[in-house]
């Protein structure tokens, strides 16, 4: 996973509340075999609305998405995080997130920043013309106009994101403990420890 120190660039001023994962990536995109290519289906229904931000040339390729309350509610599909990433979005700024989405975002290296609604309103304004900078190290969101908002993040998640550590990698780093369990199991529970041949 890529380490995140700072994300700076344009932001989609989407702002909608209660965006569920079916809006992020509709169900018919789920029968895929890859995490890649889902960006095409990301916000598929929203893209059909006149004047939407995702089809607007001014915001194409933005690394940041600004949304309303309760982002990522609904079904637990991890495809929502994969779709955002595939579209180039590596950070979301919203007042709140569903638990499952914030977990899935973290697992996939997306920074989910929570800021109060008045900060969101201001950033929505700025995003129309100017870039936004998220500094994970110092936990701030700033604009070229001296705006400076601080945000909270779980220290463990911050550490993982800053260093590009994913959960699988973290557990793999505990190889000694896993191997020593396996050694013990070979004696104590050989009928479980012995596998089957391919």
């Amino acid at each position: 996973m890529k380490a995140i120190k700072e994300i700076s660039g344009k932001a989609y001023p989407f702002g909608r509340k209660n965006v569920d994962t079916d809006v992020v990536i509709p169900a018919h995109w789920l029968k895929t075999i890859s995490r890649e290519g889902l960006g095409k289906g990301c916000f598929e229904t929203v893209r059909k609305e006149p004047g939407n931000v995702f089809e607007d040339e001014a915001y194409k390729g933005s690394p940041i998405l600004i949304a309303g309350d309760n982002f990522g509610c609904g079904s637990s599909r991890e495809h929502a995080a994969w779709a955002l990433l595939d579209m180039g979005i590596t950070a979301v700024i919203a007042p709140s997130y569903s638990d499952i989405f914030s977990g899935n975002a973290f697992k996939n290296g997306i920074l989910a920043v929570a800021l109060p609604q008045d900060a969101i309103d201001r950033l929505m304004e700025v995003a129309k013309t100017d870039p936004i900078t998220i500094d994970l190290e110092h936990q701030t969101v700033t604009t070229p106009f001296q705006d400076r908002f601080t945000f909270e993040i779980d220290p463990f998640r911050k550490h993982c994101l800053l260093n590009g550590l994913d959960e699988v990698g973290l557990t793999m780093a505990r190889n000694t403990a896993i191997s020593s369990y396996e050694d013990k199991a070979r004696d104590a529970l050989p009928f479980l420890a012995k596998g089957i041949a391919a």
Partner: protein, 476 residues
Amino acid sequence: MTANPRTLYEKIWDAHVVERQDDGTSLIYIDRHLVHEVTSPQAFEALRVAGRKVRRPDLTLAVPDHNLPTTARLDSAGKRLPIADAESAQQLAALEANAPAFGIRYIGATDREQGIVHVVGPEQGFSLPGATIVCGDSHTSCHGGLGALAFGIGTSEVEHVLATQTLLLTQSKTMEVRVEGDLGVGITPKDLVLHIIGVIGTAGGTGHVIEFRGKVFEEMSIEGRLTVCNMSIEGGARAGLVAPDDKTIAYLKGRPLAPKGDDWDKAVAWWKSLATDPGAKFDKSVVIQAADVQPTVTWGTSPEDTVAIGGVVPAPESFADASKQDAARKSLDYMGLEPGQRMDEVEVQNVFIGSCTNSRIEDLRAAAAVLKGRKKAAGVKWAIVVPGSGLVKAQAEAEGLDKVFIEAGLEWREPGCSACLGMNPDKVPAGERCASTSNRNFVGRQGPGARTHLVSPAMAAAAAVTGKLTDVRTLV
């Protein structure tokens, strides 16, 4: 003897802790990992991208089941027939490539042993008592019928298990569902588990692992226990368990992947030590009277919406809380039912006998016993029997059950998940009803607009004969 009496769940948990962490989670070792074509492609892709291997391919078994059509897979010349749906074909092809690439034993779409993961695992002796078993499918709880700690996981956890053979978990609370007395004549494990979910509700087991206890389960066959544990997830539980006993041991002995020789003897000794100690405490306890269990059907769109076949569709106002009243109204609207309507007058146009809940040989025998010498009702347009595996299919054919089904006007299919979920071609048309032996009656589960009534195999067969939900006891 340990000082503290422990439950079966606690013994299995303790035996699998790799490391305890300060935050209350533990790294738990996984003994058996079942992989199918739908929830694995992105996990394998992630391994490939990161240059990682499967840590223990020898503890992993792959078999396709969810997407496979259940119509003939070979043409008359024995050549494999293509899968029409491009995405399903692609998922199958991905598994066929990933399994050998990562060194995993693979049971192919046209192999005799192919079947639904949760049928194949126990049948092959891959699933064992006291083991931790995971699969990217929620009904993995099924294997708890053997006394294994088994639960469903998502795609990133599939990746985590492939790479590390462990999962980071928080220990669940323990819950006992004790059934007292004996089941009445003609009452099956499916009726019992539907009844239990009706009593505890779909959130009744949330945060818990359920152990099913009492004489009824001791006397129940292993296949019956698998049916009960299969649906524990519908009661909100992480997993369901029945203590392994002599029946479990007899069931597993000699199965292809079960331990042999010295290992077998050690295994048996350990399995016999796993039962909950006298005096062990459960965090929650529910007692059910077996005599209360009737042939049970569902009326709504949640597995807790159960009622005895002799009962009526409930009025939404009869529920205590407002949100359940609201849910009931929506359910009845979707199901096209009126409060007060008798369940045994509800007509069905489709019958599905199959799924990991009820597609084993005993299930097929129970359905065939009802159908023998009878014909499907004219109003039933589509009725299929889908064996849980190629081996179940072969056994049923050896017993002549396939002929009973075909003579009664039902279709006899190839093994797979079929109409349990609308992912392969087997779907129930919108607005039509299906008496189904599967495990979920959610909105759209069997196809957009499909109306599902969950029942036992015998009850599904009875519905096929009469064209409506029917108390099977009136037919025998």
